[in-house]
Each structure stands twice: as C-alpha cells, then as structure tokens.
Symmetry: C2
Subunit: 394 residues, 2 copies
C-alpha cells in the first residue's frame, strides 16, 4: 500500500474521476450578494485606516512572486525596514503573515529543546510569548543569572496597557549573559523612537497594520549577527518549515547565495502595500513621525482631561503615543460606550485586552490617522457617549 | 533580574529613551522612488492574473478584523469554500497565509509525536510534506497496513508534473485503516472536479492564487468530523500557536462558542479579495468552471501538437487542466526560451519544479486567464521562441 509515484507513472487507482455530470451542492445565496464593508474610523489599537496611496499600491495588478521585479521590490522593502528599525542588519525581511507569525519565527528559529526563555509579563503580549515558549517545551526561568536564558522577550509598545517600555540598557544586560534580546514593536514602530543597532536589540519585529498603515498580513523582522549565529548554528531543525529562516533568508536574498529557491508564495499585493507604507515613512522621516505622534497624543491627553477622563498610565513618559489607554469613566458601562460610539460615529475604540479588560478603553491614532482633527472627532464621540450612555448612581 | 511587570508598574529601567534629537540613519534612496510593477501575463503555474473585480475588492478601505461585518464576510467565505470544496463541513476556514501554511496547519494539528504519516511522492509537493513530517520527528512508514499511519497525504493537482491525480476510492482505504486522508488542491481547485464529502476526504486545502485568482496570502482549508475528532482529542498541544485549530476554529466561529477571542490579526484585504474570488466561482458555477478549464486545455493541447510540441503527460485523463506540462522541445535551451518569452511577450511560463526541472516547461491558464484567446497568445509566444531561440544541431 505504499505508492512511490514518479511523475509519469500509473495512477494510484485506476478508477475514473466522477463524471462531470455529477450533481454539485448548489452555490450559497450569500455569495451571490456583493461584498459589504462599511466606512469605519479605525481609532482602536489597530488595524488602522489604510491611506488611499497604500490601498492603491495593494490593488495593483500583481506580478509573479519570483520575478526579478518582485525581488527588487523585496530589496526595497528590506531597505525600508532597515531604515524604520534603524539597523544595518543584512538579515532583514518581511514575514508572509501577521506580527504573530514574526513572533513564532523568532522563537522557533532561536530556541532549541532544553533551552530557557525569559519573558517580561508586561501585558497580554508577554503572556502570549510565554505560552509559545511553554508549548515548545521550555519554561520560564525566573532569573537570567541563575538560568542563563537564550532569549529575553520584551514588548516595546504594550498596547493592552498603553505603555511604551524603555529599552535602553536591557540589551547590554542580555549581552553580558549571552542571551538574545527580542523586542516586539508591533504597536510602537513609527510612533515611538527605537534604534535597533544602538540599543543592542538582537531581534526586532513589527506588524504592517499599525503606524505603518498597511493592511494586516505582513510583518517586518530583523536579526543581527548574534541572532544569526545562534539560529544558523543550531543542532535541531526548527519545527516549522514555513518559518525556517534558512529558507526565508534565501527567499529574501539575505544568505549570499546567487539564486533564490521557491519556498512559499509570498503575498505579492501585501508586499506592494508594505513597500508603499515604508516609502511614506521614508519620505516623512522617522523624527517627524515620532514628533507628530507625540504632539497629537499630547493634544488628545489635554482633550481627555478637559472631559474629566483619567489617563490610565499616569507617567506621561511611559505612555505609548500610538495607543492611549483611559480609565473607564466612573459609573459607565464601557461596552455600552463603545457600542454607542460605533453606532453613532462609525468609530472604533476598544476595551482592554487580557489583563486590562474592564480596566481601560483604548484610543489609537496611528500614522495616517494621527491628526489633531481625528483626535477632535474621537473626543467629540467620547463626549457624546458620556452624555447619552447610562450612568449608574453607584 | 526577573521583572514581573504589572500594567502600571515601574519601568524596567529608570532610564529615559534616547532624546528625539538623536541622529537617525537616513532613509534609503530606493524608497523615494515610486513602486514599479510591470504588466505581466501570468501564464505559469501561479500566481495567476487577478481580475479587476478581485483587485478592487482587495483595494477597498479596510474594517477591523474583529468587527461584526468582518465576521459576516468570514461567514460568507466559509460558505464559499464549502461550495468550492463540495462539503458541508462546519470546520471550514481560511488560513491567514499561503497554501503552505494550510499544509503545516493540517500536519501540526492532526499528528502527534510518535505517530506515522504516509506521503505519496508524486512530485515536489509530496516531498515537501515528507520533509515536514520528518521535521516533526515522524518518519514515513512504507505500508499503511503494517504501520498504521494517522495521516495520508496526496496532491490532487500536481503542478510540477502537470498531473491531476485520481482521488476516488482512496478515502475508503484510509477509513478502513483509521487513517486521515489529506488532499492538496492548491493547483486544481476550480479547474478539476473535487467532491470533498463524496470522496471521503478528511482534510482538504487550497491556495487563493491559482484558479481562484485572488492574490496569494490566504488558503482555504476544511476538516471533517473524523479530522476534528483526531485533532481535538490530542494529548499534546500543536507546536504552533498561530496554526492551532483550537484558536483558529474560534476565530472563524466554528467552535460553537458565543464569542470570538482575539488570536491574530487576519489579512482583512486578503479576505475581501478571497470573498470576491469565491463569489465569482459561485456565480459561474463549478461545473461551468470545470468545463471551461477542460475545453481551453484541450484547445491548448491541439495548438501545441500543431507546433510539434509533445505533451509531458501522455494520458489525457491524467492531465491537470490548469497547468499544462510540455516536454522541452528537442535541441532548445528551456531557460533561453522562457527568457525570450518573458522579454518579448511580457509573459510568464516556467520550467519544472523539483524533480521535473530540465524535463518540462509549464503553461498555466487558470480561472480568469482560462480563455482561448490567452491560449492563442501563449501558442504565438511559443512559436516565436521556437523560431528565434538557438537550436543546437545535436
């Protein structure tokens, strides 16, 4: 019952396919109606609204995923990511997937069975990596000195809490302990300063759909030489073929080999859109993008305080400029407020996530959405909700 | 050195971020140039050209990945996939990734350490799964009766050889041996008949970028009750959190729970495009799509034979209607011919893949591209290449 089939050998079974006159299950009625996607102000923690220029790039006729012109576009994306990350790392690519794919890629490639991972639980994201590590048979050690973890994970922009975590100095500690420093900047890239090389970050990743304003589905990631040394000198193969950096580095032309072999079919339209979003960031400049996010966030803070709303993170310097968390106004049902704002203002704000559920509401103004006029709209919608939602007497 | 950080706790290190006056690495010049993506007739094995209607759907302003309207779109996609697969399986979703992601998802979820997988090596795709299985610590058993594999993998549309593999009867054998039957229809779905339920296929997947004509980046997959029973009664967790069907089934509203929890951010634009491509298939009807592929393929065969070109698969009934493989014309360098056709006709045809490299050239006319006029263009380009490319005297 084993069938070693050469390309031209006999078929597995000499039966004919069912004839084409077979009765098929009929098409579903819902698929005969047009696609409906309403206008939405995406002022939550992401995805953010996609600017017309990026939508247009993503809607262009595609080319082949292995055409020389596609490689050029991928090379541009690589340079755009290097700029956004402030790194000169050669091993800089985009995942064909969400930020979570980048997270799994980082862990799958750098950690081997029996090795330890240390995770800073500063919100849902830290917990998420903890679960991945657990799944890989690792468990968290409580001290770097004692247990010598090979990887330390920290979220820079902790969007569940609205916290922007300081990074300076941590990379140095990691180096001293021969540990790789992995930083998640999904919610912060382009909104708050990050300097991959200067800050001794060994692995950095982000998502496409936050301050970069591309549709979700691609995720920039970069590995420095320390990280490459670890992942390309492992004894075991990573569990995932799709996320194996041996193949992905070849696909992205980072391994120095003359030819790129077929590995998987990359999201051509997603890469068009990602390139455009990185181009917008390059044109505007990182400093200007950081300045603008800080300015609009400060403007939003003032407006919130004028409404009597309390910011969740009291320390201003720790606030994530892209996603602002507010304490739920006393006496209000946050779910009702969010539903009211969605219904009457076509605007997404969200509640907390994981540990912050029931504690916060979140307002995101990122990249293209990061404008004072949008902050005004958000404040107007909040004021309207405070006026018209039920307030308990407790 | 362990930092248990509550959302509002003190920062990891009390250092300030680098001041925003820090000098950044300047933006790369290439990112200040516009995106260039030339017109291409994608007559290879895929991705195929995307029709304007699908491009427009993918270029629409996005909504949130967890909005009720997005769930409606995902429900529609589910119904569209059920139709395309000819199944009533509740556990029917799209991966947020390529066909390869669907392949890893199927294997990760249904196979546990110590279990066997049987793979029909009928081209590169079979080999690929074999490598995955090896990576998971399994190895291939040579006989189903002897070794009781839990999963048998077969590629329906073997695009590297241009072979369409018969499916009838195999599912019954698998059932008898308590083995799941996994079928890859990436290159065949919509082009050649497949009946998931009637043919007792336990797990079926495809890609978005072939006869469905959506951009690459999404991949429909369906599991029947047998497959669900196996994957939801496993003792170990799948190695990948991203591909864990416990979470994905919740995200797609297939697990019967009232609420969908956040798992990862799905490719919103990709899902818009996928829904549109499934809608086109539903409008046209499967039988008509199958008939058209067969008709245009037959037209192409005649044209090729008129040019003196030999088809690679002699058995007409085994030929894959979406991708036609031809023997490399005697005396010609296939690389030169492909480059000539690309340069002078802006048309992609490809060589072989894996075992068929140097043996075949491949012409794909799928879905939107499946028209006699396109077959004529391809034949014209081939005739031109035969006339103008060097022919050795050997």
């Amino acid at each position: 019952l084993y069938f070693p089939l050469a390309a031209r050998s006999a078929p597995l079974l000499q039966r004919l396919e069912r004839s084409m006159s077979s009765v098929t299950i009929p098409p579903p009625a819902c698929m005969l109606r047009p696609l409906e996607a309403p206008l939405r102000y995406l002022f939550g923690p992401g995805p953010s609204n996609v600017p017309p220029r990026v939508l247009a790039a993503g809607g262009r006729p595609i080319i082949g995923h292995l055409h020389p012109e596609m490689y050029e576009i991928m090379n541009d994306i690589k340079k755009g990511i290097q700029y956004a990350f402030q790194t000169e790392n050669n091993m800089t690519i985009s995942m064909s997937g969400s930020g979570h794919a980048a997270m799994e890629c980082a862990v799958f490639n750098t950690v081997e069975p029996g090795e330890s991972v240390l995770v800073a639980i500063n919100g849902i994201w830290g917990e998420r990596v903890a679960e991945i590590a657990e799944r890989m048979g690792k468990f968290l050690r409580t001290a770097m000195q004692k247990h010598k973890p090979v990887l330390f994970f920290l979220t820079h922009g902790e969007s569940s809490a609205g916290l922007c975590h300081p990074i300076d100095g941590i990379g140095d500690i990691c180096r001293k302990h021969d540990c790789l420093f992995l930083v998640d900047t999904v919610a912060s890239l382009g909104a708050a300063p990050i300097f991959m090389d200067k800050q001794n970050i060994d692995i950095l990743y982000t998502g496409s759909q936050k301050a970069l304003n591309a549709p979700p589905g691609t995720a920039p990631i970069s590995f420095n030489d320390r990280a490459c040394h670890k992942m390309f000198n492992r004894k075991t193969k990573p569990v995932s073929y799709l996320f194996d950096m041996t193949h992905l580095s070849n696909y992205w032309g980072c391994d120095g080999k003359p030819a790129r072999a077929y590995h998987h079919t990359g999201p051509v339209s997603g890469f068009f859109a990602l390139r455009e979003s990185l181009a917008i960031l390059a044109e505007r400049g990182l400093e200007e993008s950081w300045r603008k996010h800080k300015e609009v966030a400060a403007y939003l803070y003032r407006g919130l305080e004028d409404l009597g709303i309390k910011l969740f993170i009291p320390e201003r310097d720790l606030r994530l400029p892209s996603v602002t968390t507010i304490a739920i106004p006393k006496g209000y049902d946050w779910r009702e407020m969010l539903a009211y704002i969605m219904k009457h203002h076509q605007m997404e704000m969200t509640g907390g996530l994981g540990p912050s559920i029931g504690m916060v509401m979140r307002i995101g103004l990122m990249g293209y959405n990061c404008e004072k006029s949008n902050a005004d709209m958000a404040l107007h919608a909040l004021a309207d909700a405070l006026k018209n939602c039920r307030k308990s007497k407790a």
